[in-house]
Structure formats: structure tokens, C-alpha cells
């Protein structure tokens, strides 16, 4: 292999970099704008649906939502505490997320049927 800037020019490295970074920034900037617009559009939609008679409470609700509840502050503190403890206690203190099953749609009723009949006293 020969090291040379000519390779970079031949491979159009600068063009790829400029194109690439432009597109990456455009993509994430669009997502950013989408995220900024989303609650406003939803808010506008729900106010439209509510007949425009309660805009003040909707806004009040929005501003209330800006401050975290006590519950969430507690949760955040608990998380931080947890992360700290993890360092000192090591592997055995890893969290365990319990598996929750949810039977939906097509199979839900079959599941119910089953639990019903198996709960019976026969056989």
C-alpha cells in the first residue's frame, strides 16, 4: 500500500465527506424539527377537536407537564443511586426486568378458553 493524498482525491474522499455530513445533518435536523413540531400539531389538533373552548386549560396542562412530578424525581434519584451502587456491588446487582406476557387479538380468546376449561375440575 502506498500512503498518499492522491488516494484521497482519487477516491473522492472530500466529496463523500461533505455529502455525507450534509445528509446526516439534514436528516437529524429534519427529525429535530419534526419533534419540535409534533406536540404543537397534536395540541392544535386536540384543541380543534375540543371545539376551541378550552385553550387555557390545555396550555396550563402543557406548562404543568414541563415540571417533573415528585414521583419522577424520586425515580430519577433511585436510578442514579442504582447506577452508583452497581459500581460497588458489581455483577450480582444487575437489574432484572421481569417478562410480561400479553395475549392479544387472534389468540387472546383461545387463551381465555384454555384457562377457563383447564381451571375446571375434570380430567
Amino acid at each position: 500500500m502506498n500512503y498518499s493524498w492522491q488516494n484521497v482525491i482519487d477516491g473522492n474522499g472530500i466529496g463523500i465527506t461533505l455529502t455525507g455530513m450534509s445528509i446526516v445533518f439534514s436528516g437529524l435536523a429534519l427529525i429535530s424539527l419534526f419533534i419540535i413540531a409534533l406536540p404543537r400539531v397534536l395540541d392544535w389538533g386536540s384543541r380543534l377537536a375540543a371545539g376551541r373552548d378550552t385553550p387555557s386549560t390545555a396550555q396550563a396542562g402543557a406548562s404543568v407537564a414541563m415540571e417533573p412530578s415528585d414521583e419522577e424525581i424520586m425515580a430519577a434519584l433511585a436510578l442514579v443511586l442504582h447506577l452508583e451502587l452497581q459500581h460497588s456491588l458489581g455483577e450480582d446487582s444487575k437489574i432484572t426486568i421481569s417478562r410480561q406476557q400479553r395475549q392479544g387479538s387472534i389468540w387472546a380468546s383461545a387463551g381465555k378458553m384454555r384457562s377457563l376449561s383447564e381451571g375446571g375440575s375434570h380430567a
Binding site: 500500500m1 477516491g11 419533534i35 406536540p39
Partner: protein, 375 residues
């Protein structure tokens, strides 16, 4: 006894090379680091054991290694070599990721874009060193700090370098707590590291449900090459957030991702037979990989400082370092470095926003490189 002698000629002891021995030791080091230091154990243990298995010297004529047609390891490696496993892992990651930190911090999303400069500067470095454009693109993606993305793009652009690129990507991801802090301290002042950020707003269920669909459309339309990775990521996230498909989301983030992780890690490891892996190219790739992580970290931090020139609510520039992805380790590193300056300044939630944005950013980057370099 002639047969016994012949057989002994075919044992691994006889065919063992110094390269194999070295790789076996590397594999054992991976396993040891994963167990004793807790560095990415879910990936380094499978990869490490795969490295050990892949460096047992093969027997001529028997289909054993990932490179032998019809061998079991080749069938398992198929999911890697065809790029099928990475999107399935993204499906599971989507089903366990909460994007609400990002939804409540939209401006931090740009930090996840800035850190992708690591990808493209590494590409320039790889071109300089004489790699072909396709190879350089695959090597650059190490700077995305995202294992599945790196494997996916390598399988498309430079399958012969896949092993080295994957091992480099995962190694440096495991070493994020070692690589990032010095750079973070070098590029920030104490005052910057003490900046407290405002509490983000809360996000409604509706936003969480609409977000994956809208964000997918943006990414998919702007960079169709990222369609499969990003599509699976947001598909998994929709399964999680819409609440009516909980059982699918649970399976995607448990049984499914576990099975794929086991098979991917093990077979990537097994593809590192010394004969293919111990080359000067691999050495260069490891060097470029280290560079790419440093550049990406610096890119994120410096862009945060640049944004602060225009913002009233200043960003703590440490948070920029989380833009490299390496979810969630780089966000944890930000949190830890922040706590060293001020034990009451919790940056974790803020750092998660550029962290997950970085995943999207590097998947877009991979899509662009694939489109530009494969055509």
C-alpha cells in the same frame, strides 16, 4: 498404528500456528475482560469464545470453519455475511429503547449528527492509507460506534474485512470508558463541565407512537440505504410504544435478540482465523478505529460548544461526547465525568438524547456510504 499416526497428523496440535495461538490468547483476553471488567459481556463473551473456536486449526478436506462451504459455522455465519442479523438486532434494540429523552430535547439531536464526523474523517484516513473506496467506507463506519451498523455495512462493501471491522468496533465500544474521558477533559473547561441543563419536558404517549413512523419516513426518504436498519429500529420501537403489541415487543427484546446476539457474536468471532485476520490491514484498521472514536468524541463535544454560541440555555458540552452512540456506555461516561465535577449534576438523561440520535445518525451514514460506494 499407521492410522493413529495419520490421525495425529490431523490433530490441531500438529497444525497449530503461532498466529492461531495468538488469536486464542486474544479470545481468552476478551472473555476475561468481559467477565472481570464487565466490558460489554453480552458481545465479548460470544465473540471471545468464537475467536477461540475459529482458531482451532482446521483439517484439510473437512467442512468446519465459517469459510468452508456447507459447514455448520458457515450456515450460522450466513446471517452475518448477508447482513441479516444486524437488522434483527436493531429490531430488538428498538423494542427496548425509550426515545422520550430525545423527544424532549430536540436540539440535542444535532450532537448525534456532529459525532458522525468520525465516520467520514476515518474514511479519508483509510483512503490515504491506500484502502479502496469501498473498504475505506466500511472502515470509516467503525467511527459510528455501533456494532450492528458496522457489520451490516461491511457485509455489503467489504466482506473480506468484516471480521477485523467488527472486532475493532466492539473492542473500542467496550473501551469507551477508557477512551473518552481524557478527550472530554481536554476539550472542555471546568466551567463548561459544571453547566446544569434544564429539566426536559414530559412526552405524551401519542408523540411516542407517532415519532417512530415520522422519523422512519424522514430517514428512509433522505437515505434509502438506511431503510432496513432504521426501519427495523423504528418498527421495534413502534411495537413497544403502541402498547397493543406488547407480546411481540417482549419477544423481540428478549428471545429474538438473544438468539441473534449469540449466533452473531459467536460466528463473527469464529471468522477471525489467524490466516485471514492477522494481516497488516487488520493492524491499520485497529489504528484507524481508535482514531475514529477519538474524532467522533471530539466532534460531538466541539459542536456542543459551537451550539452554545447561539443558545441561551447552554448545553453542557460533555453531553456532546454521547453523540458517538455506543449506547449506553458513552452516556454513562458523560454522567460519570459530570459527577466528578459536581456530584449533584445528573447528566445521564440529557446524554441519552444524543446517544440514541447517534445510532440514527450512524445508520444514516451507513446508508449514504452504501449508496455512494456500492453503485
Amino acid at each position: 498404528m499407521g492410522m493413529l499416526y495419520d490421525f495425529l497428523q490431523n490433530t490441531g496440535f500438529a497444525a497449530m500456528t503461532w498466529g492461531n495461538l495468538m488469536m486464542i490468547i486474544i479470545g481468552i483476553i476478551f472473555i476475561t475482560l468481559a467477565i472481570t471488567k464487565d466490558y460489554e459481556p453480552l458481545l465479548l463473551v460470544p465473540i471471545g469464545f468464537g475467536v477461540v473456536v475459529g482458531n482451532i486449526p482446521p483439517v484439510a478436506g473437512m467442512a468446519l470453519s465459517v469459510y468452508d462451504d456447507g459447514s455448520v459455522l458457515q450456515y450460522i455465519y450466513f446471517g452475518v455475511s448477508q447482513g441479516v442479523f444486524p437488522p434483527l438486532i436493531f429490531l430488538g434494540i428498538g423494542a427496548m429503547t425509550d426515545f422520550s429523552t430525545m423527544l424532549s430535547n430536540p436540539k440535542l439531536v444535532l450532537l448525534g449528527a456532529a459525532a458522525q464526523v468520525g465516520i467520514f474523517l476515518t474514511l479519508i484516513g483509510a483512503l490515504f492509507l491506500g484502502f479502496t473506496p469501498a473498504e475505506a467506507g466500511a472502515i470509516g463506519i467503525i467511527g459510528g460506534a455501533d456494532g450492528p451498523t458496522a457489520i451490516f455495512l461491511s457485509s455489503k462493501l467489504a466482506p473480506h474485512l468484516l471480521g477485523s471491522i467488527a472486532i475493532a468496533a466492539y473492542s473500542y465500544m467496550a473501551l469507551v470508558p477508557v477512551i473518552q474521558p481524557p478527550i472530554m477533559k481536554l476539550l472542555t473547561t471546568k466551567e463548561e463541565r459544571l453547566i446544569r441543563m434544564t429539566t426536559p419536558r414530559q412526552v405524551s404517549r401519542k408523540e411516542k407512537i407517532i415519532f417512530p413512523i415520522g422519523a422512519f419516513l424522514i430517514c428512509g426518504l433522505i437515505a434509502p440505504g438506511s431503510m432496513v436498519l432504521i426501519g427495523m429500529l423504528f418498527f421495534g420501537n413502534l411495537l413497544k410504544e403502541c402498547l397493543v403489541t406488547d407480546r411481540l415487543a417482549n419477544t423481540a427484546r428478549n428471545a429474538m435478540i438473544d438468539i441473534v446476539t449469540i449466533l452473531l457474536g459467536f460466528s463473527v468471532g469464529a471468522s477471525t482465523a489467524a490466516k485471514y485476520f492477522l494481516t497488516s490491514q487488520s493492524l491499520l484498521i485497529f489504528g484507524l478505529g481508535a482514531l475514529s472514536f477519538c474524532v467522533a468524541t471530539a466532534g460531538g463535544i466541539l459542536f456542543a460548544k459551537f451550539m452554545n454560541l447561539f443558545l441561551k440555555d447552554k448545553i453542557n458540552p460533555l453531553v456532546g461526547a454521547a453523540g458517538v452512540s455506543a449506547v449506553p456506555d458513552s452516556a454513562r461516561v458523560v454522567h460519570t465525568v459530570g459527577l466528578q465535577e459536581d456530584p449533584t449534576n445528573f447528566l445521564l438523561m440529557h446524554a441519552m438524547a444524543p446517544n440514541v440520535a447517534g445510532v440514527i445518525g450512524s445508520a444514516i451514514g451507513a446508508g449514504i456510504l452504501w449508496t455512494v460506494l456500492a453503485l
